[in-house]
């Protein structure tokens, strides 16, 4: 794909329209440097080269997420696409489909970037989706907001394929890993040795049903739970669990890719130096604790000290996950336009750590 000018908006295809995908669609709609041209989930897809407008999108994502199964219909968007002479399937741009991903793949020339907002259960799901894109299309920029160490490790394993596809894949680009692990890379600059990185997050959501995948990902970190067990839980079972904890999930020693990403960036020698935990309140929008990254190290003069990055309590999970992901996506496009390809972690497009 020929590099498009940075003056033109980056055309984004969104994979997934759960809570994260919906918020991302809303945020993208508020930006002039990017445009949402496609979205899909497991049941259907929508595509408009001129950009999916927010109203249509609001209805649409509800349709798709709830299992959109009506016959394909012409929408106001379809008329616009047809007028623009863009080939879309049967002139339709909103459709249910058995393999929505395939529908997007066949129209990959219509977008520059892929925002992966799919649920991360199981870990293998996102790599397999990415491989389908890599086999079909070159020159794309990908960004994900994966959290688990195992999931991010699988993305690194695709490096050769990403390079062959002359693409850029940025992984672990949400809040943590992402914003907070990037802050740890900055904080590390002042020290000769880093002793520890502690990330302690607070998230408050008034209604967990808007973030069903996220809640199950958190439950999977509880003692006695696995990714598979959490994924298999019904909504009623999740409700029952939350009833026992007064709506709160307090998590420690989470398997979070901040450890792998900070190891790769040279901030820590051992992943055990990175500790991630937090508190999720599923009944109040107010954060139960303030989200903080604390890096402790020794300076060249031999002094122990800590730098901290503290997120404002009024900022939501959606703001702190999607904003950074879009910032990384733009950097990915910058790298691709300069012929730099491969898989990069969110800690790897920053000042480096000179060891």
């Amino acid at each position: 794909m020929a590099a498009r000018s940075l003056q033109e908006p980056i055309r984004i295809a969104m994979l997934g329209c759960g809570g994260l995908g919906k918020a991302a669609a809303q945020i993208i709609g508020m930006k002039r440097e990017c445009r949402l041209v496609a979205i899909c989930d497991s049941t259907g897809y929508a595509l408009d080269p001129d950009g999916l407008d927010t109203e249509t999108l609001a209805a649409l994502t509800t349709d798709i997420a709830s299992g959109y199964r009506r016959p394909a219909r012409r929408s106001p968007l379809a008329a616009r696409s047809a007028a623009a002479g863009v080939a879309t399937a049967s002139g339709l741009d909103i459709a249910a489909a058995d393999d929505p991903l395939q529908e997007l793949l066949e129209r990959a020339e219509l977008f520059d970037a892929v925002f992966v907002a799919l649920p991360n259960l199981p870990n293998e799901f996102i790599p397999s989706v990415t491989q389908r894109f890599l086999r079909r299309s070159t020159g794309l920029v990908y960004v994900d907001v994966l959290k688990r160490t195992g999931a991010v490790a699988q993305m690194y394993a695709l490096d050769d394929q990403v390079q062959r596809a002359r693409s850029v894949y940025l992984t672990g680009c949400g809040a943590t890993p992402g914003l907070l692990s990037a802050a740890a890379v900055l904080a590390a600059q002042s020290f000769i040795t880093v002793e520890s990185v502690e990330i302690w997050w607070g998230v408050g959501i008034a209604n967990w049903a808007q973030h069903k995948a996220t809640i199950r990902e958190d439950i999977a970190h509880l003692p006695g739970y696995t990714v598979e067990r959490a994924k298999a839980m019904t909504d009623a079972e999740v409700d029952a669990l939350l009833e026992q904890t007064n709506g709160r999930l307090e998590l420690h020693h989470m398997e979070h890719a901040d450890d792998l990403l900070l190891e790769r960036a040279g901030v820590v020698d051992r992943r055990a130096q990175v500790e991630v935990g937090g508190v999720m309140d599923t009944r109040h929008a107010r954060k139960p604790v303030t989200t903080t990254m604390t890096l402790t190290g020794i300076t060249f003069e031999g002094r122990r000290s800590s730098h901290r990055f503290v997120l404002g309590d009024e900022t939501t999970m959606a703001a702190n996950v999607i904003g950074p992901a879009l910032g990384y996506l733009k950097r990915g496009a910058w790298l691709r336009d300069r012929g730099v390809h491969g898989v990069f972690g969110s800690t790897e497009v920053l000042p480096m750590v000179m060891r």
Copy 2:
């Protein structure tokens, strides 16, 4: 110059050996991924392809800084260089010189990177030195720790020349701008609009005579002072001024390049949204105030909030300036090795701001 493997240490030439240059030499000596091979000031230079060892350097920088004028002499290092078959002037590697920069320029094949730790008075000094390097040598990586907006603006003006020399120049890469302005770029990710960035720094130094250039740069920000007037002050005049303020300098509305760098990165629309101030205590190593970057913005949900980056009080100016500069320098080498050239600010090798 052929790109050297990232496995080999980055060979650094240091311009300047005042307080900053000396601390940088010490820190570089603690790193395995870089090596100090040359250093110069206005009176002399030292060069050893195998690396200037710390002991020699300690004596040497004192010599040079105090106006080293003895005849060129053979040092233990000279024997090593000669044995290695490296051409150095008359077999000497420590020498007084009328134009020490020229001596380094003629041996530019011996280093990969230039750390500019020269005093920033006047603003034109560093650009003119850089131009001499750019005319003579290609493929180098440069990093500076400039602070003034006017000085950084002059470095951006060299972009064409830096690109023609297939080099990378990173500007404003100290603590502020540098570490703190980079933190502002990260913090901005969570917001749709950024209202303000406030940087409030504290520096404590037990003996200002070790940081003569830095103190004069700070004095130049006081009401009634100019860069020229501060530069012209004798040590006795500086002492007399500090006597009046009990050794403290409190500065507000500083002309600091954080404003230009954050504007270029798209964090703010107007430079006036960035406020830099701080307190310098010249009589106590303890910081008079905690150094903090506070970014305030509005999220996509319309909420006002602030993210903060807080430096540990035990970290010194030297640690917070030189560590980041070396981290940027390594990123600069990474970019150069991938064929990306030009002048970049410290806010421009990070996740970008999607506007």
